[in-house]
Amino acid sequence: MQTVAVKLVTIVAESVLEKRLLLAVKAAGATGYTVSNATGVGSRDMRASTLDGENIRIETLVCPEVAEALLEVLVRDWFPHYAVIAWISDVAVVRGEKYAG
């Protein structure tokens, strides 16, 4: 099976940010995303949810350029103010053109 290397960007953030963060993901060029619920503990403790520690976990498969762009937006606009972390993994998919943006 012919596979293509793409990037998987995983973002964990306080859940109040969901709507706006997904807009940012799309704006960076992602063609899709998967969202699940999580809780967590981090180094900051800056969330405002009554339900403390309630997070969302966003996964998006993107090409390297989109991953780069998305990370830049996160670092510039989100990391300084909100409880957000993100990491990037190398993964293989079939039909990589779907994630080229």
Binding site: E14, V16, L17, R20, A24, N37, D45, M46, R47, A48, S49, T50, L51, D52, E54, R76, D77, W78, P80, H81, Y82
Partner: protein, 328 residues
């Protein structure tokens, strides 16, 4: 019953004891946990039930009766952030963002404090105006808007690249679930009236107090989790969170009385003024004022002001309203 008896009756109601049980659960590090989806469902139920019942009462009134109390409620909601902000900035030494954030919470209202007031009035057989839930609905947003305006004047909104858009945040609470369900419930209640309501009463009325117990159990846990942050709040904010409710409560009661509301109605207006939001306001503030520290605004409103109002505040505002009624 004298004031002390009334206060005791309030302290020993199932509602308050369930709140205490929630606090105890956290102190004992119990694994008791209300699943989030259930908490969300209970919130939907409570807001809709408050709205529906209010709407049925509203349908019996002429709009003119609501005019003055409505204006008074909005006025109080908009005024509170002004002096709260000034006080927090000048005396408390808070940053613009923190001062505006806290002011937004005290300008807005707490629905659970409101229904606890209704339950307390019911338990003490004190009548009140049927449009009370409408007051709750219209007081949720104005205080937040005024506080955001103060923050914008101070230049701190729009600073943050991602979230700092106050207009969008206000639009979001206006379309947010608590305003929507309250207003939607009011409209449905007003349309269907007593007869239509009868068919859904077993759920929205008979179950109300019991469901509220479960909700307060959860709120007790949430407040207790925040209580651990109490030290961070500092003595000034702790005093603010205890004294301002009393002042706002007194103000609300006096205004309510002076525009001709009943003892119960004046007490409700006082309770609304005294209460601080801990569900709608935090979400809006977090988005629009990310620089503000939730360790201040949420701890003050949820872990200090809310328990204070539930326990001592309600009997106090009631006693004041009764005294005014008798004195004049």
């Amino acid at each position: 019953m004298n004031t002390l008896d009334l206060a005791m009756a309030n302290l020993l109601s199932p509602l308050l004891l369930c709140f205490v049980l929630g606090v105890v659960a956290v102190l004992l590090r119990s694994d008791l946990r209300f699943p989030d989806p259930v908490f969300a469902a209970l919130s939907i139920y409570l807001m809709l039930a408050i709205g529906l019942k209010g709407g049925v009462e509203l349908s019996k009134l002429s709009p003119s009766q609501f005019l003055l109390p409505g204006l008074a409620a909005v006025g109080i909601g908009m005024a509170i952030p002004l002096w709260s902000y000034a006080l927090l900035r000048r005396v408390g030494g808070f940053t613009i963002a923190d001062a505006a954030a806290i002011a937004a919470h005290y300008g807005s209202v707490s629905a659970v404090t409101f229904v606890a007031a209704l339950a307390y009035l019911d338990a003490t057989h004190t009548p009140y105006e049927g449009f009370a839930p409408a007051l709750l609905a219209i007081m949720e947003v104005p205080g937040i808007v005024v506080a955001f305006a103060l923050a914008r004047r101070g230049g701190v909104i729009g600073e943050a690249g991602a979230g700092g858009n106050a207009a969008q945040a206000v639009r979001e609470i206006l379309a947010g679930k608590s305003v929507l369900l309250l207003c939607g419930g009011l409209a449905i209640g007003a349309i269907v009236g007593e007869a239509g309501y009868a068919r859904v009463k077993p759920v929205f009325s008979d179950l109300f107090q019991g469901v509220l117990c479960l909700f307060l159990l959860e709120l007790g846990m949430l407040a207790a989790q925040r209580m651990a942050d109490f030290r961070r709040v500092g003595p000034f904010l702790a005093a603010f969170a205890l004294i301002m409710p009393v002042l706002h409560g007194a103000l609300g009661v006096v205004i309510g009385h002076s525009i001709g509301m009943s003892t119960g109605g004046a007490m409700i207006l006082g309770t609304l003024a005294a209460s601080a939001s801990y569900i709608a306001a935090p979400a809006a503030v977090r988005l629009a004022l990310p620089q503000a520290n939730p360790g201040y605004y949420l701890t003050a409103s949820l872990a200090v002001t809310f328990p204070f109002n539930l326990t001592l505040g309600l009997p106090l505002y009631k006693a004041l309203a009764t005294w005014l009624q008798g004195a004049l």
